[in-house]
Symmetry: C2
Subunit: 473 residues, 2 copies
């Protein structure tokens, strides 16, 4: 049963398992204690720190073990902002950062700080010079991920780090998605990562803070982890995390090349196998194992369940957690279709046969979901009605076909739009009423994919939003 | 090699080990995901929450898994204070709380809040009515440990919780030391605990927040753990922690009775075997496995190393971590001798033979440390010189013997005092100069133990402090 959600978590690496078992016996005691059990735990912790620091490319005394990547980011952002408070309270992030970075930014705003969110292109990539242009006199900190977690796009971290260095602003790199593949290049100042992304156990994050970076850890602290991560250290988990990082790094180059071929195959084949699909993310500058696509007229969660029944575990940006139905902020920032979104992220060791089986299963899974939703088939929904004579301009006199999907979840609004677009003449207008947030992204994305003109949105008096579309073909 | 530092951490319980291994395979995925691996992790997490909630005595939806007991306390204190900000900003703690509670209180003060620290008796116990008397109109939160981590004294938690309930103030109970033995009685509002104290893995804490308690989690949060503990859940560790808690609870009554006999033996025998020892902590209302004593003329760290060489791992409140030499705030608050402090905390399963071997080894270990320090032998240091006629009153005319121990660490000040007390007549004065913080505790404690009169301290013009003692016998 292939598991294709490596960007979320991967199973424990065999090396990590071995290290964990050994250090459950040897490293359970308090490393702050002076007795032999404590000293043994301390030695294991120190050795793990050296190994992890080498993989990160920093000094051991610059590296703190935290209890998760999220905690590393929260502490890193708050600590750097507090340490640089004299410089100012301006924070820069990209719009496609992991939610833990965005939550930290919101927290900073709630506390009276100011945040600039740097936009990305349609591939999800930040422009290094646009990012640099956001740097100000009062910028205390900038944050940029090394690679995007939903679409796999690599960010120009080295260039941005260089610009930040020149401006005297520390850059925090969220390296959660890339650290397994190699160290982060460029003169970054802080770095955060998460062990369960590289086959380490959950419960271990890394926070590196370069010497010389002003840093003041938030909240109450203790003597542990240089005062940056209070609470009893989970030494066995830390040892396993460090061992796993070394192990995956040893295999990284070969495995990256292999996975890249497999994701390239998915990128190329999916649009051939399934109608009305948009593959998203930068086609070249991307992580080896991650590929993301969106399918018109498909409910992402339904497709995820359909694939799960067929034996494939993937993730969907259409409903990225089990507790929320808000479409992915990443797809939104990129301006691409969010409906029917599927992220395939291959764990190391994924076989060609698994990928081929997925490509075999996908078209039927999509068809089943589309059929359940009553979606138009074949993508030719707009050819039945001949173009009307001279329709142009959006005067108030023009007739507008209204499609009311208030109270109905995406992708219904787009499905209903597709069903009626053929009922208006070329040049004619359709107004889609929807109160599903995802429609804001999906109606324009549908227009771009189908060659129709999107004219904009306006609040609808009876609640929800009206999206106006002109038939172009 | 007996390990007697259970109050700090115990090895993984066999049941926890088994649960951990099983759930490393079954529970590594993200429990927020909808695919089968995610759902499996979610089921394990839910089951662990039910088991742990039952042991705590709360509803599953009141229980959050945190990454350590310290984190549970920090989040609990900050969250309750923020949630009750309208009531006021007054916080009550006892003086003998774990440092994580005191750090949270200091953080609150630094943020402009007010803290009342309720004192304890010489046994380390809070008086429930004194605690209740500290409650005010503007009290937002009160914190009391269920049992003290250094001396094992049980606190009157149920009575205090009742008084808090009456006053409409939530009580947070740090139950780290007692949860293995049973649920916390009384109408507490918040409870914190730590899994590695009961044979669970490190990296798991518990925070229970009763329904109806106003709570606003500090810092950035996410959807995990009811928004109270951001970051990817370590499901295998949580499962192991819950399994271990059930297992130790099943054995708790029998094991408590057994360990209580063993610590009772230590309490009784140590003062017979070693001269000038003070057993500290409440003799009756105490944890089953913890016993603490202090030895005059002994450096706690040296004794700890001496015992470690002999094969016994204990902890010392004289130097409670490897990174600090400040004497324990607990012993200080109790007003008992801090020098030569040893905490023996027996893990479940400790044998009678281990305890007897310890009692065999202790006298020699103490003697060796005392000999190294040149301490007076036998406790009869003051009998050589006959009493002087009529000495009484501290007039300026009286001759004062000055003992200068500036720059020398405890227990040297007390050792030098003991050496010269026989050189002054009964009624005569000795002034001890010291710049070691521990002397403030140890000189009065020595006087009480030796039947001499402690007259007080004053700043010494050349630095440090002068402690004045009158020979009484």
């Amino acid at each position: 049963m292939p598991y294709f959600d490596a960007a979320s978590a991967v199973p424990l690496h065999p090396v990590a398992r071995q290290a964990l078992l050994a250090s459950l016996d040897e490293g359970w005691a308090d490393p702050a204690r002076l007795h032999r059990e404590g000293r043994r735990a301390r030695m294991l912790l120190d050795a793990a720190r050296e190994a992890a620091a080498e993989a990160v490319g920093c000094r051991p005394d610059e590296l703190t073990f935290t209890t998760s990547g999220t905690r590393a980011v929260h502490t890193g952002v708050a600590g750097a902002l507090a340490g640089r408070r004299r410089a100012g309270r301006h924070l820069i992030v990209s719009t496609v950062e992991h939610s833990c970075v965005l939550h930290a930014a919101e927290s900073h705003e709630a506390d009276g700080g100011e945040v600039t969110r740097v936009e990305v292109d349609r591939g999800g990539r930040v422009d290094a010079s646009a990012f640099a242009a956001a740097l100000r006199e009062d910028t205390a900190l900038a944050c940029l991920q090394s690679a995007n977690h939903e679409v796999g796009t690599l960010q120009p971290v080295a260039e941005v780090a260089g610009a930040c260095r020149e401006a005297g602003v520390p850059l925090l790199v969220d390296a959660a998605q890339s650290l397994a593949w190699g160290p982060v290049e460029g003169p970054w100042s802080l770095l955060a990562a998460s062990a369960h992304k590289w086959g380490g156990p959950a419960g271990v994050g890394l926070l590196a803070v370069r010497k010389g970076v002003r840093f003041s850890a938030p909240g109450p602290s203790d003597d542990r982890e240089s005062g940056r991560a209070p609470g009893f250290e989970d030494v066995p988990a830390v040892v396993a995390a460090a061992a796993s990082l070394r192990a995956v790094r040893a295999e990284a180059a070969a495995e990256a090349a292999r996975l890249r071929e497999l994701t390239e195959r998915i990128r190329a084949r999916v649009p051939q196998l399934v109608a009305d699909v948009e593959v998203v993310g930068d086609p070249v500058r991307r992580l080896p194992g991650t590929v993301t696509f969106s399918c018109l007229y498909v409910d992402g969660e339904a497709l995820l369940h359909e694939l799960d029944r067929t034996g494939f575990s993937v993730s969907s940006g259409s409903s990225c957690t089990s507790s929320t139905l808000v479409p992915s902020h990443v797809l939104k920032a990129m301006g691409v279709l969010s409906e029917g979104n599927v992220r395939v992220s291959l764990p190391p060791g994924t076989t060609e046969a698994d990928v081929d089986a997925f490509l075999d299963a996908l078209p039927d899974a999509v068809s089943r979901v589309r059929a359940q939703l009553g979606a138009p088939a074949g993508g030719d929904e707009a050819v039945a009605v001949p173009p009307a004579g001279t329709g142009s301009g959006t005067s108030e006199q023009e007739a507008v076909l209204v499609v009311d999907t208030l109270g109905r979840r995406c992708p219904i609004p787009v499905i209903e739009l597709a069903k009626v677009i053929g009922d208006v003449p070329v040049g004619g207008l359709v107004r889609v009423l929807s109160d599903d947030e995802a429609a804001r992204l999906d109606v324009p994305a549908w227009c771009e994919m189908r060659g129709q003109e999107y004219l904009g949105e306006s609040p609808w008096p009876e609640g929800g939003t009206a999206y106006l579309v002109r038939r172009e073909r």
